[in-house]
């Protein structure tokens, strides 16, 4: 079977899954379909990325589907987070269904939108056409809007409206940028339908209308930057992440933000080729990255809600990734490495926070105490992921952040280095205080909201927590050669060197 068909299956599987979910009544069958679709999707994805992981340059199908080291890497992360979140969602919602917190109809809607969201994100990653990429990005917003208010409360509706409007407007700006980028290629010898293909645009980048291309990038950075949660465009993010059910928060933070950043990286590559590596776009990314780190620091120190705390950590880490890319050189490599580390770690953190929230019946950190005693598995998950998030050695996040420090010293970006160290330093202290209080504080003897999950630490829960933490440790200590080479190739693509 030609590789092109795998692309179609990758897009089609979740859509079929969504359709099947729409027809089913029993929550149990919806769950089975969700897990089945996730497993099948992962297998298809593995087929697609395996050649590129093994060293192949890229694979193209019908011009519109395109996979290279950068997109294969992102696709692999998407599928990993998707699979983990679906498995976790099964446990998470099973208890809520039993307790009657969520109705079967609501759960079915969750199933449909969940599959749809994954199809949309996959479209963004595998599109070579920058227009199709945009369509996928907007579809992501639309699919996930109602996932935020699966539990229909006033607060979740508020969060959903803010998310829907801010991201739609932001992504509309990005479409303006997409059009401007195409306009910048006008008059160049490109066949009619090729003019929106990323590969074609990069090939002719040096002849494009540079002022127009730069204007396009500004629109794209602001537009997709809104969706990526870069400060000061992040206002929707803490609300949406805190109100959404935990599996959705995990997918948001673990991958949706990266999808938007991925789009920006694609354009960074074109700009870098067009300007001959002058670093114009990198400086902008550096700027947004630093603002994000500073803003996140302020909010993390005085946070009271555990999921909002994690949401601001996302702002911080997306900021770190942008900063890394913005520093160029080894920084791009480190930033891409950080993408995986952050995604896995943040997913685990939201998993743990979600279940602990169910056990304690609140997300207010003042009331979450003694998690290690109350529920060892998720207690360890939350504490461990916090340690990794704030950059404790030798977790992988520490390694990638260390490389970003080196990159800053290499590039003599001392101001950026100082702000980065001050921000992460303050967050280290602030978040560690929150995490230790939650882990060891004296538990309050209040009636838990959902009694069931407190006692039952399933084998899946244990595997999710232990597996994620072990991988984060292992990758921090030792990086396989194929992984290093994949990241290097992806970094070269971003820097426009390939």
């Amino acid at each position: 079977m030609s590789v092109g068909y795998y692309f179609w299956i990758l897009m089609g599987l979740p859509m079929v899954g969504a359709g099947v979910c729409a027809l089913l009544r029993a929550p149990r069958s919806v769950l089975t379909v969700l897990i089945g679709a996730a497993a099948a999707e992962t297998v298809v994805g593995a087929f697609l990325v395996k050649d590129i992981f093994a060293g192949a340059q890229d694979s193209v199908a019908w011009g519109w589907f395109y996979l290279d080291a950068l997109s294969a890497y992102h696709l692999a992360i998407l599928l990993l987070i998707y699979l983990l979140s679906t498995v976790y969602a099964a446990g998470y919602f099973r208890h809520e269904l039993e307790a009657g917190v969520i109705r079967p109809g609501q759960f079915r809607r969750f199933g449909i939108l969940w599959c749809g969201a994954v199809a949309a994100m996959a479209l963004v990653i595998i599109s070579n056409n920058i227009g199709a990429m945009w369509i996928g990005m907007e579809a992501t917003t639309l699919m996930t809007a109602f996932l935020i208010c699966v539990h229909r409360t006033a607060a979740s509706l508020e969060a959903m409206w803010k998310y829907l409007l801010m991201c739609s407007v932001g992504v509309a700006c990005a479409f303006m940028g997409t059009l401007l980028a195409v306009a910048a290629a006008r008059g160049l010898p490109l066949a009619g339908s090729d003019v929106m293909l990323w590969t074609q645009l990069r090939a002719v980048a040096t002849q494009m209308n540079l002022p127009l291309l730069k204007l396009a990038f500004l629109f794209l950075l602001v537009g997709y930057g809104t969706k990526a949660g870069l400060a000061p465009l992040h206002n929707w993010l803490p609300d949406a992440h805190s109100q959404a059910p935990a599996p959705v928060s995990a997918l948001f933070s673990g991958f949706m933000l990266n999808t938007a950043l991925y789009c920006i990286l694609r354009y960074v590559a074109i700009i870098e080729v067009a300007t001959g590596g002058a670093g114009w776009s990198l400086h902008l990314l550096q700027f947004f990255g630093l603002i994000s780190i500073v803003v996140a620091t302020a909010f993390i120190l005085f946070q009271e809600d555990v999921k909002r705390l994690l949401a601001y950590h996302s702002v911080e880490h997306l900021g770190i990734i942008s900063l890394g890319v913005g520093l160029g050189g080894i920084g791009v490599f480190a930033a891409l490495f950080h993408v995986f580390n952050h995604s896995l770690c943040k997913t685990l953190a939201f998993f743990s926070a979600g279940r602990i929230g169910q056990i304690y019946g609140t997300h207010s950190m003042a009331h979450i105490r003694g998690t290690l005693k109350a529920h060892p598995v998720w207690g360890i998950g939350l504490f461990g992921s916090f340690l990794a998030l704030i950059g404790v050695a030798p977790f992988a996040l520490f390694m990638s952040e260390l490389q970003i420090v080196f990159a800053a010293m290499d590039g003599r970006a001392y101001l950026a280095l100082a702000l980065f160290l001050a921000g992460t330093g303050a967050i280290f202290v602030g978040a560690l205080k929150h995490a230790m209080a939650m882990a060891w504080g004296e538990p309050e003897h209040s009636a838990p909201a959902l009694a069931a999950p407190a006692s039952a630490a399933g084998i899946t829960d244990t595997i999710l927590v232990a597996g994620s933490l072990l991988v984060l440790l292992a990758v921090g200590l030792w990086m396989p050669e194929w992984y290093r080479s994949l990241l290097l190739r992806a970094a070269h693509i971003v820097e426009g060197k390939l």
Binding site: N129, G131, A132, W134, I135, E138, A139, T141, L142, A145, F146, C149, R152, A154, A155, L157, E158, A159, M160, W161, K162, L164, L165, S168, V169, A172, F175, M176, L179, L180, V182, A183, R186, G187, G192, S193, V195, M196, N209, P211, L212, P238, D239, S242, Q243, F299, F302, Q303, E304, R308
Partner: protein
């Protein structure tokens, strides 16, 4: 009707939007703007693309001229509001700022047309002015419904820019974009219904429970 008349008309409808307080009539103005916009493909696309232009025009007319207003008028009835009371920026001030935005749009259009974008400076002016008006409405009005109208105006501007400023776009992309906008407005309509049921109002500035 000449092209320039059409662009002037688009600018005028945007100005009317800035000064209108009745939600009912605002919805109709945006619908009218969308309907006028739907003639644009017929006027600017090359004759070889006639079939495609007719299809795109019909689709745009159907979505922007008919489906959206019906949908939004229904939401309006459900939400039981008639006007935008106490907007964050008053109507006279909105109009004055609108003039400033128009000047900005003229300036930006002139600059861009100077480096070879767009079929005419006026087409770009109309496109940018619609975008600015849309953004302004989203920021300066309190009703969720007016924000949706702002979003639609913004999208109209981008649509006009796509047709007059860029040239060839693959039909699949055009279709996908229209579909996305359609679903977006559809979802916003549902969201407004939920909000009006949950809160008994659709004032966005009173959605302020989530902080910090």
């Amino acid at each position: 009707m000449g092209l320039d008349t059409l662009f002037v008309f688009l600018v005028l409808t945007s100005i009317v939007l800035l000064g209108s307080s009745l939600l009912n009539s605002s919805i109709r103005v945006v619908a009218l703007q969308g309907a006028v916009l739907s003639f644009l493909p017929l006027l600017v696309m090359e004759p070889t693309w006639a079939g495609r232009a007719v299809f795109l025009a019909a689709l745009t007319m159907g979505i922007k001229g008919i489906v959206f207003p019906v949908l939004l008028l229904r939401s309006l009835r459900e939400a039981n509001v008639r006007r935008e009371m106490q907007p964050l920026v008053g109507y006279s001030l909105s109009l004055a700022l609108g003039i400033a935005l128009l000047v900005l749009a003229f300036w930006l259009a002139g600059r861009l047309h100077g480096i070879g974008v767009g079929i005419s400076a006026l087409s770009l002016t109309a496109a940018f002015f619609m975008m600015f008006t849309g953004l302004f409405l989203i920021i300066a009005r309190r009703k969720a419904l007016t924000q949706v109208l702002g979003f639609l105006t913004l999208e109209n501007g981008i649509y006009a820019f796509g047709l007059t400023g860029v040239g060839h776009i693959h039909w699949l992309v055009e279709l996908g974009v229209l579909l996305d906008v359609f679903v977006a407005v559809f979802i916003m309509g549902i969201a407004i219904d939920h909000i009006s049921r949950e809160f008994d109002h659709i004032n966005v500035d009173e959605l302020d429970q989530l902080k910090g």
